[in-house]
Amino acid sequence: MEILNSFELFVACSLSVLLVVFITVLYLRRAMTTAIQMGFTKQQVSKAVRAGSISAVGPSCAVGIGVVGLIALIGGPYGWMRLSVVGSLQYETINAQMMAQKMGSTLGSLTAEQMTTIAWGLTLSVFVYQTNVLLFAPSYAKVMRKVSAGDPRLLGILAICAIIGVFSRGAVGYYFGGTIGLDGWSCLVGMIASVIMIEIIGKRLKVGWAFEWTLPVAMISGMIAAIIIM
C-alpha cells in the first residue's frame, strides 16, 4: 500500500503529465503565431487565451474534487495522473467500478494487488484511443472531406452535428428519470442563461464580452440553481 503512495511512483506518474505540458506549450505558441500570420491581432489572440482559461476554471474544480475521491480509491500519484492525462472523471470511475466488480470487490475495499490490476486496466483503456489517434488522426480530415464532398459549408454543419450529438446525448438523459433531478434543473438554467447572454446581452444590447462570458455565466447559474433547489 505504501508503494501506491510513494514518492517514486509520483515521479513515474509525473513524466506523463510533463509531456502534456510540453506539447501544449509547443502547440499554443505555434497556434498563436499562426493566428497572427492569418491576420488576427495580438489583442484577439490574448482574448482567445483568456476565454479558454476562464471557461476552464469551473469544470477543473469539479474534476479536482473528483481527484480527491479517486485518490482514495486507487492511490495518490496514480489518481492524480489519471485525471491529468487523458480520461475523464466519468470514464475512469465507470471503468474502475466495472473492474472492481469483475474481481468480486467494490471500490473502497480494494487490496494493493487489485488496485494495480485496475491501474493496468485504466492505462489500457486509454492506450486503445491513443493508438487510434496515432495511426489515423491525419486521415480524419480526409474522411470528413469525403463525407462533406469538399463543401466547406457542409463541413461546418458536420461539426455542429458532432457537438449537438455529444451534448444532447448527455442532456436528454437528465430528463429520463421520471422526475427532473438537479442535473435537469442545472441544464435548463444553463440553457436559459446562455440564451439571455447571447440573444439579449450580446446581440440586442451589443455588449462585446457577452460571448466570451456565456459559458462561465451558464455554469455558475446552473450550479447556483442546483444548490438553491437542493
Binding site: S16, Q37, G52, I164, A171, S186
Partner: protein
C-alpha cells in the same frame, strides 16, 4: 499576407502532425512507466488477471474507441485532437473551451481560422486544468473539508449547465441541426440503446439525417 494564408495553415498542420505523432508515441510508452515501477516492487497481477478484469471495459467501449476521435475531429481540429487525446476531459473542458474561443473571436467551426482559434482556447484550458487538479491532488482533502458541503456537491452540477449552454450556443447558430440532434438523442434513449453506443450513435445518425436534409436544401 492573405494570399499565402493556405500555406501558413498547411505548415501549421504538418507541424502539428509531426509533434502530435511523436508525443502520442511517447505518451503511450510513459503511461506504462508507473506500472513497470510497481511491477519492479513486486506488484504485478499477471497478464491473465489483467485481461480478465479488462474484458468488461473492452466490450463496453470497443465501438467508441474506433468512432469517438473521428466524430470529435471537426470541432477539435488537428492540434485539438492530439492535445485532447493526451489530456482527456473532452466534453467537460476541451470542447467547451475550444468553442468559447471560437465564439469570442466569432470564427466558424470547420474553417482554418476556426481550427487555429480552437487550438488556442483548448491549449489554454489545459494549463488551468492541470494547475487546479494538481492543487486538489496535494491539498484536496483539506480544501474539501473547508468548503461547505453545498459548494462541493454543487460543483457536480456545473457539467449539466455546460451541456445546456453548448446546445444553446450551437442551436442558435443552426436550430434545425440542433433539433435533429436532440430528437435523435431522445429516440436512442427511448430505444434504450447501450450506453457506450449512445454518443457515437447519436452523432452518426444525426449526420446522416442532416446530410440528407442539406442535399434536399432543407438545411442551409
Amino acid at each position: 499576407m492573405i494570399e499565402n494564408k493556405a500555406s501558413v495553415y498547411d505548415e501549421f498542420r504538418s507541424y502539428i502532425i509531426k509533434w502530435g505523432r511523436l508525443s502520442m508515441i511517447l505518451a503511450m510508452i510513459l503511461a506504462f512507466v508507473p506500472l513497470a515501477y510497481l511491477a519492479s516492487k513486486g506488484l504485478f497481477p499477471g497478464w491473465s488477471t489483467i485481461w480478465d478484469t479488462f474484458q468488461p471495459v473492452f466490450v463496453s467501449w470497443f465501438l467508441l474507441w474506433i468512432l469517438e476521435p473521428l466524430v470529435y475531429y471537426p470541432v477539435l481540429g488537428m492540434a485539438g485532437t492530439y492535445v485532447s487525446w493526451l489530456s482527456g476531459n473532452i466534453s467537460n473542458l476541451r470542447l467547451p473551451c475550444a468553442v468559447v474561443a471560437q465564439q469570442t473571436l466569432q470564427v466558424e467551426e470547420g474553417t482554418e481560422e476556426g481550427d487555429v482559434v480552437a487550438t488556442i482556447g483548448l491549449c489554454a484550458s489545459v494549463f488551468v486544468n492541470l494547475a487546479i487538479v494538481a492543487i486538489f491532488a496535494v491539498a484536496g482533502v483539506q480544501i474539501v473539508s473547508v468548503l461547505p458541503q453545498s459548494i462541493t456537491v454543487g460543483f457536480n452540477y456545473m457539467v449539466p449547465a455546460i451541456f445546456g449552454s453548448m446546445i444553446v450556443i450551437f442551436g442558435l447558430r443552426n436550430w434545425k441541426v440542433a433539433l435533429v440532434g436532440i430528437l435523435v438523442a431522445i429516440a436512442l434513449k427511448v430505444a434504450a440503446v447501450p450506453y457506450a453506443l449512445e454518443i457515437a450513435g447519436t452523432i452518426l445518425i444525426t449526420i446522416v439525417i442532416v446530410i440528407f436534409m442539406y442535399k434536399k436544401g432543407w438545411i442551409k
